[in-house]
């Protein structure tokens, strides 16, 4: 493996371990230099990670309790065990210390929708497990069954500070399957998948798959009416299945219980409101139809993909459901003002809506590493800075029911922490070190390896 601690030729991103690490706890630095090769374990993990880490001197963006200048964060056995000002927070003896003076320290970012592990090279069909295409209603499809923990895309994206993500099927079916929550570090899929089947991925929009073809086709469904009716029938059928099951459980029941049907089984927890349904709808009319269905079946909703709803803002606020906005980069409709979508996060947040952002967009590149810049763009168009940070940390964590574990620098949460040389939302900022579950992860990946392999060419060509 190529993990190493060498300083990278004028590039700063690799330097954290080599330069910033020092060791009152005697051996850390020396140990790292003595046998760097031993640092690497399977699938880009650290073979022998420290179980006690202190990040000192940085400016802490805690998310929940403001900014702390000159702060200390202590991670022990994967968890945050102390957060506070240097004056009042002790650096424990034996801790591996990361000096973050002049740096900004914040919780790992949470990407509310990705396809990580479901595709490698999208143009290569064999590498795609994005969505099952045989039917519109497929709640039994679980992305954990396809999640490829060894994808090159995870190390490429995580070194910019994204530590957690929702993995969702492509938004092509009315019910596309069930999402998973992952952390972007671990030796295999079992360690990376934090919560399988964390939410149901539903969609109601003009582009959703219609097996029957478009309007005018001869098979059902071929229209939005067909798609909506089919969705409602799926929930009605599941309710009937639940009734039959309940009846079969009674002592006086005669005959066979209903045959186990995985499709209906998959929908039961969502009909009971036990888990969230992420419902994608782009435009106002789609949002209203989706929410109508959601109310009819008492679904616990997270709205997703909302991007052209400028005329429905107050109504959306009245739903009292969280919203994953956009992509903020979705194109305005013809004759919308250029910033109609850019300003949507601000407009929704202003009305009290809990918002999150994701890296999913229409374009060819939906990279989690660019998630903080989407949040920054929302700030440019009116979203308060602290709310933008929340939209990529605590808010999505809370939406998916893991706000007690992720999304802020608080004692008891998982040790997902980022050290950067500036404002995390600015494109010019470089992340220095990412910690996932308390482990200072290797700040290398296939792309940094290629960079380092060819860097001597630039050194040779540059005037000394």
């Amino acid at each position: 493996m190529n993990f190493h601690l060498k300083t990278a030729h004028g590039f700063t991103t690799l330097c954290a371990l080599a330069l910033c690490l020092h060791a009152p706890a005697q051996s850390a630095h020396a140990k790292a230099e003595a046998k760097p090769a031993s640092a690497t374990g399977p699938n880009g993990t650290v073979a022998d990670p420290p179980n006690l880490v202190a990040i000192t001197g940085g400016k802490l963006l805690t998310i929940t309790h403001g900014t702390i200048e000159d702060g200390v964060v202590v991670l022990r056995e994967g968890k945050i065990v102390a957060v506070g000002a240097a004056s009042s927070t002790r650096v424990p003896k034996g801790a591996q210390v990361f000096d973050a003076h002049g740096m900004t320290v914040y919780p790992g970012l949470f990407d509310a929708e990705t396809h990580l592990g479901l595709t490698e090279v999208e143009a290569d069909e064999n590498s795609n497990d994005l969505v099952e295409k045989s039917d519109e209603i497929e709640p039994q499809m679980r992305v954990v069954d396809a999640f490829h923990a060894e994808t090159v895309r995870i190390p490429v994206n995580r070194i910019n500070g994204v530590t957690n993500a929702i993995v969702a099927p492509a938004a092509e079916d009315s019910i596309a399957g069930q999402d998973a929550l992952i952390q972007l570090y671990g030796r295999d899929s079992d360690t990376m998948i934090m919560t399988p089947d964390i939410a149901l991925a539903m969609n109601f929009d003009g582009a959703v798959r219609r097996r029957g073809g478009g309007t005018g086709a001869s098979k059902f469904p071929s229209t939005r009416m067909g798609v909506a009716s089919q969705l409602r029938q799926a929930f009605l059928d599941t309710q009937h299945y639940m009734d039959e099951q309940a009846a079969a459980g009674k002592p006086d029941h005669k005959g066979e219980p209903p045959k186990k049907d995985l499709k209906y089984e998959a929908l039961i927890p969502y009909l009971k409101g036990e888990k969230p349904v992420v419902f994608g709808a782009y435009e106002s009319n789609e949002v209203e139809v989706a929410m109508g269905i959601a109310k009819e079946f008492h679904l616990k909703i997270i709205l997703n993909h909302v991007s052209h709803a400028q005329d429905l803002l107050d109504t959306i606020a009245s739903y009292h459901v969280p919203v994953i906005v956009g992509s903020i980069y979705d194109a305005p409709l013809a004759n919308e003002r250029y910033d109609a979508v850019f300003s949507l996060p601000a407009e929704l947040q202003k009305r009290g809506v809990k918002i999150a952002l994701s890296s999913i967009s229409d374009g060819p590149v939906s990279d989690s590493r660019n998630l903080p810049y989407a949040a920054g763009y929302a700030v440019a168009y009116g979203l308060p800075y602290d709310e933008a940070l929340k939209a990529i940390t605590l808010n999505p964590a809370e939406m998916f029911g893991v706000g007690d574990k992720l999304g802020s620098l608080d004692v008891g949460k998982i040790g997902n922490v980022v050290i950067a040389n500036g404002d995390p939302l600015d494109v010019r900022t470089s992340v220095q070190q990412v910690f996932i579950a308390g482990v200072p992860i290797p700040m290398s990946n296939r792309q940094t390896d290629l960079r380092d392999e060819y860097m001597p060419l630039t050194e040779k060509a540059r005037p000394q």
């Binding site: 090279v121 999208e122 250029y338 374009g363 660019n370 600015d426 792309q447 290629l450 060419l457």
Partner: protein, 452 residues
């Protein structure tokens, strides 16, 4: 004429009220009537691209051209003053690779050699993508044929004067560019039909044969002209062939050759073919692996127009790294960033900002990648791309450092005329008042083969 003393930055406070009133008045008049003969954008952080950044600088615009740049300028007393205190001023952004405003007519994918296709024939000047780009500070665009064909069509260069006629949006005197392609796209398009080319071998043979045909065509004309020169009255002129004429123009060096190309082996092959047939390559587009051979391409003078951080969307983008632009620059290659997208064209300034992060470019180097260097690729660097005296007054006022995530273009001037002002109600356009045409799906012609 000497600049009035109240325009000096250190004394501006005394006259702040006067300035504000003048700025407000000028905004109105600019929106409603012809632009003034003289205008001074005053007290901005001026990022010139060629001569560093001037704090509290002024730029004097005279008849649509930049007439003065500096801490003070010698504008006439009646010049309209635009107060840009606290703002940043840059040259207009130049996008050297766009398929905006071409509807669905990006690729004439019926033959791998279509050099006589003229993109101007598809140009729709009321496409909403142009407006959205203008609002992102983009003032010049090279609208290219797609990459289905080894030799595609001829590009159109526009100034983004959204609201004016098709004719008025053309960049006057801009040289003609032609689009070539290589790699996966041509071989997929034709290979999927069981036609030539279906491999990279086929790709390059199609190209070589086209140039052999062009040489024969040129020779037939040379022979005819020689006969005429000798007074042969019976000589019959060869048939004029638009396709071969266009290829001959490549060989004659009349067209700037813009090549869609990803892999290092293909950069080297393209350069070898160019040398063999005697033409120059202006730029490789995409060029995601230039960092591997930048030291070898630099001496040819060929530039690149690349993405900041796109990667992995197809096999030939698998070795893309976001350090490509800065590494290639350090290897001696002239580097531009481009959009190839109706989305990214709106925020090329932030793509440039990423270059500070990915490789430690200076702000000026990063800004040059979206201004002067793409202007060179298009062949208009003597006209636009920097804030220098004599150049066209294509200028953008930003609310803050344009390389920041938070930057917004507030005012966009082209040839000294205001075309976009974010403070105006509605679209913020000064010249456009009609109905826009919906932009195509994404304008990204090469994402994963959607548009080929």
């Amino acid at each position: 004429m000497v600049i009035p003393s109240f325009l000096c930055a250190n004394r501006v406070g005394r006259f702040a009220v006067v300035l504000a009133a003048m700025a407000a008045a000028s905004g109105l008049s600019l929106a409603q009537s012809a632009s003034p003969t003289d205008m001074v954008i005053h007290n901005a952080t001026v990022m010139t691209v060629t001569q560093g950044t001037i704090e509290h600088g002024s730029v004097w615009v005279h008849q649509g051209k930049i007439a003065g740049v500096g801490a003070t300028v010698n504008a006439p007393a009646d010049a309209v003053i635009v107060d840009a205190s606290g703002k940043f001023l840059t040259p207009g952004i130049v996008d050297p690779h766009s398929h905006s405003a071409l509807g669905n007519d990006i690729n004439e994918a019926t033959s791998p050699v279509t050099p006589s296709m003229m993109m101007i024939d598809a140009f729709d000047n009321s496409d909403a993508a142009l407006y959205q780009a203008l609002a992102g500070g983009v003032t010049t665009e090279l609208l290219l044929h797609g990459s289905a064909n080894m030799i595609g069509g001829q590009a159109v260069v526009i100034k983004n004067k959204f609201g004016l006629s098709r004719e008025q949006m053309l960049f006057p005197g801009a040289p003609q560019s032609i689009k070539f392609a290589s790699g996966e796209n041509p071989k997929r398009v034709y290979g999927s039909r069981n036609e030539l080319p279906s491999t990279r071998m086929g790709n390059f043979e199609v190209m070589r044969q086209a140039f052999e045909d062009a040489k024969a065509y040129m020779a037939s004309w040379d022979a005819y002209n020689a006969k005429v020169a000798k007074g042969d009255k019976d000589a019959i002129a060869p048939k004029r062939d638009l396709k071969l004429e266009a290829l001959a123009d490549v060989l004659r060096g009349k067209l700037l050759v813009q090549i869609h190309c990803y892999r290092p082996d293909e950069f080297l092959t393209e350069e070898a073919i160019a040398k063999q047939y005697g033409y120059k390559i202006r730029a490789f587009h995409h060029a995601l692996e230039m960092y591997k051979v930048g030291d070898q391409i630099a001496p040819t003078g060929t530039a690149i127009a690349t993405f900041a951080d796109w990667w992995g969307f197809k096999d030939e983008a698998w070795d893309a790294i976001p350090w490509n632009a800065v590494m290639s620059m350090h290897e001696g290659v002239r580097v531009a960033l481009k959009s190839d997208s109706n989305d990214y064209v709106r925020r090329l300034n932030q793509e440039a900002g990423k270059m500070v992060h990915y490789g430690g470019a200076t702000e000026e180097e990063a800004l040059r990648m979206i201004t002067l260097n793409p202007a060179w690729i298009i062949g208009v660097d003597d006209r636009v791309g920097s804030i220098d005296v004599g150049k066209d007054a294509d200028l953008v006022i930003w609310n803050m450092d344009p390389l920041s995530t938070y930057a917004r273009a507030e005012k966009v001037y082209i040839d000294g005329d205001l075309f976009f002002d974010s403070s105006l109600p509605g679209f913020g356009t000064t010249r456009f008042h009609g109905v826009m045409h919906a932009a195509g799906f994404s304008g990204a012609e090469d994402e994963d083969g959607d548009g080929l």
